[in-house]
């Protein structure tokens, strides 16, 4: 889906680990949660309550609210505005509704 620029992976780029639905995922320092999820192959971040259809990030800049996920137990966080941190626990719907 998305891949890192190979020429860009300098040794100084720190990796960190967080979990998505209990699955361990590696992210880069400086990633937002939304970027880290996309890098991990996730594209469906939430189920729209009004449309009952999956949605994923659209704007990546805090405007569209389509990337709302549960972070460390707090629901409805904007994944694109939250820097990913080591040990963070992110929950997204898996193959169905999650709310």
């Amino acid at each position: 889906m998305f891949t890192r620029l190979t020429q860009d992976s300098a040794a100084s780029d720190q990796t960190i680990e967080f979990t998505v639905n209990d699955r361990k995922v590696v992210a880069r320092m400086g990633d937002t949660v939304a970027a880290a999820l996309l890098a991990a192959g996730e594209m469906q971040f939430r189920i729209s309550p009004s449309a009952d259809k999956p949605r994923g990030p659209y704007c990546m800049m805090g405007v569209c609210f389509e990337c709302l996920v549960t972070i460390d137990g707090r629901a409805g966080r904007q994944a694109c505005l939250t820097a990913v941190k080591s040990g963070m626990q992110v929950i997204i719907p898996e193959g169905g509704r999650n709310d």
Partner: protein, 469 residues
């Protein structure tokens, strides 16, 4: 730096760490004013210079994004070495008329008091309501650029780019340079706009205009020579898929096409972010050339509301370099209002900023005329979802508009604009459908009333206010 927590009162609070906000905050700090810069993102730079502090000189990313991006590093460095305070990952959700600001960071709310407020909240990409635009895998062109800038992430499956405008062609060339597999470029610009734009050409040849034009010509040449399949005059774009994007269908000239796609990136220009100024009740106007609302401001960014200024794209699209100088002018205006400088000193400080701003604005009217949003985006067909949050179609909005209902009555009847994005993605479309039904240009009253909170805040978050007091 002053500690933001122990000092809740500021001479000036600036919202937004893009070029306008950075320039304003830096200038104010250099003039010994207590200034706090509040920004939603984890890092300074705004959307245009995102991730700039982590950019390695000479890296592939620097090469792909180009010199106009690298330019921002200096702006951020100057801000960082100033005495301005900075609070990242912090959202503004309410402002009282007396400039008490309510902000939240990581679920903890807090109030700040400002004597002057500068809103440098920038622009957002115009909504592109087409069939299937809510499918996962459909993003804005800006979103792809943000992933590249802040995480070095590029798509590795067929991308279809659909749209037009300077940022669109720039993103396309950056994708090429990054090795993104572009399946097709669907150019929605109309050739006939070329003729209408000629009148704006003489002015575009003055100031910094020729620089912008030659960059544009180079971009277009690179795209033509790239061999990427390009379709021109694209209309009737539909994005297809079940739970994520799989194909696009469109018309180019008389022919219909259907192509496979992994990711679709849309772009039809940018519009000012008006939520905060709307909530504050600042006077707004519809700009016929930019096809968007913006707050009414003077040379110093002053709005109709005392003590509140707007700088940069949030006051009307001026581009990154123009925004930087508007930030300077707003800062100088605030200094004058605070009584720190007299009019003569204000005018001296402002003269270079004004000249530079004018130079960067010469090509803007030409760009506005070359890439106006097409009708099917402004007033979509009845089946198209316009409010993504509440799944409301253009047809539903149109039906109520025909009955003479306004935007706030529609909110109540249809729930459009009532979801978490609070009308950011549908406000302009709803206004344009109402205006189109009436047969006039949009009026400021065709846009939703925006009320606090600007961002969804939980009761728990609000209760943290009491604990701090």
């Amino acid at each position: 730096m002053t500690d933001p927590v122990t000092n809740p009162h500021w001479d000036v609070v600036v919202i937004g760490a893009g070029p306008a906000g950075l320039a304003a905050a830096t200038l104010l700090a250099e003039q010994k004013t207590s200034v706090l810069l509040v920004d939603e993102q984890p890092e300074p730079g705004g959307q245009i210079y995102r991730g700039i502090e982590r950019l390695q000189a000479g890296s592939a990313k620097a090469h792909i994004l180009g010199e106009d991006y690298v330019y921002g590093a200096d702006l951020v460095r100057r801000f960082r070495s100033s005495a301005a305070s900075y609070r990242p990952e912090t959202s503004l959700w309410h402002v009282t008329p007396k400039l008490e600001l309510f902000v939240s960071r990581g679920g903890v709310a807090e109030t700040l008091q400002a004597s002057q407020l500068i809103l440098a909240t920038g622009a957002m990409e115009r909504a592109v309501p087409v069939a299937g635009w809510t499918l996962p895998g459909v993003v804005t062109a800006g979103a792809l650029q943000i992933l590249l800038k802040s995480s070095g992430l590029v798509a590795d499956q067929p991308v279809i780019l659909a749209g037009s405008g300077p940022l669109f062609y720039l993103l396309a060339t950056q994708c090429l340079a990054a090795g993104v597999p572009i399946a097709a470029l669907l150019d929605t610009a109309k050739a006939r706009h070329m003729f209408g734009a000629i009148g704006a050409l003489p002015r575009a040849l003055t100031g910094a205009g020729p620089g912008y034009l030659s960059k544009g010509v180079k971009l277009m040449r690179a795209l033509r020579q790239s061999g990427v399949p390009t379709y021109r005059g694209v209309e009737d774009l539909q994005i297809l898929g079940e739970n994520r994007v799989s194909e696009v269908q469109f018309r180019s000239g008389k022919r219909k096409h259907r192509l496979k796609a992994g990711i679709v990136a849309l772009h039809e220009g940018v519009v000012p972010m008006v939520n905060a100024t709307r909530m504050l009740g600042c006077e707004h106007t519809w700009d016929d050339r930019q096809h968007a609302f913006h707050p009414v401001t003077d040379t110093w960014g002053a709005t109709s509301h005392a003590g509140i200024r707007v700088a940069g794209d949030a006051a009307g699209i001026v581009g990154a370099r123009g925004a930087e100088h508007q930030g300077g002018l707003a800062a100088v205006g605030a200094l004058h209002d605070l009584g720190r400088i007299d009019s003569a000193r204000r005018d001296r400080l402002a003269s270079a900023e004004m000249r530079a701003l004018e130079a960067h604005m010469t090509a803007r009217p030409l760009l506005d005329r070359l890439y106006p949003p097409r009708a099917e985006i402004k007033t979509p067909g009845d089946d198209i979802v316009v409010c993504r949050c509440e799944n409301v179609t253009a047809g539903a909005v149109r039906q109520l508009a025909t009955q003479g209902l306004g935007p706030n009555q529609m909110k109540a009847a249809l729930r459009c604009g009532m979801g978490p994005c609070q009308g950011r993605l549908c406000g302009d479309t709803v206004a344009q459908i109402i205006a189109d039904t009436r047969g006039t240009a949009p009026r400021p009253s065709d846009y939703y009333n925006i009320r606090a909170p600007l961002k969804p805040v939980s009761i728990g978050e609000i209760s943290t206010l009491g604990e701090r007091r």
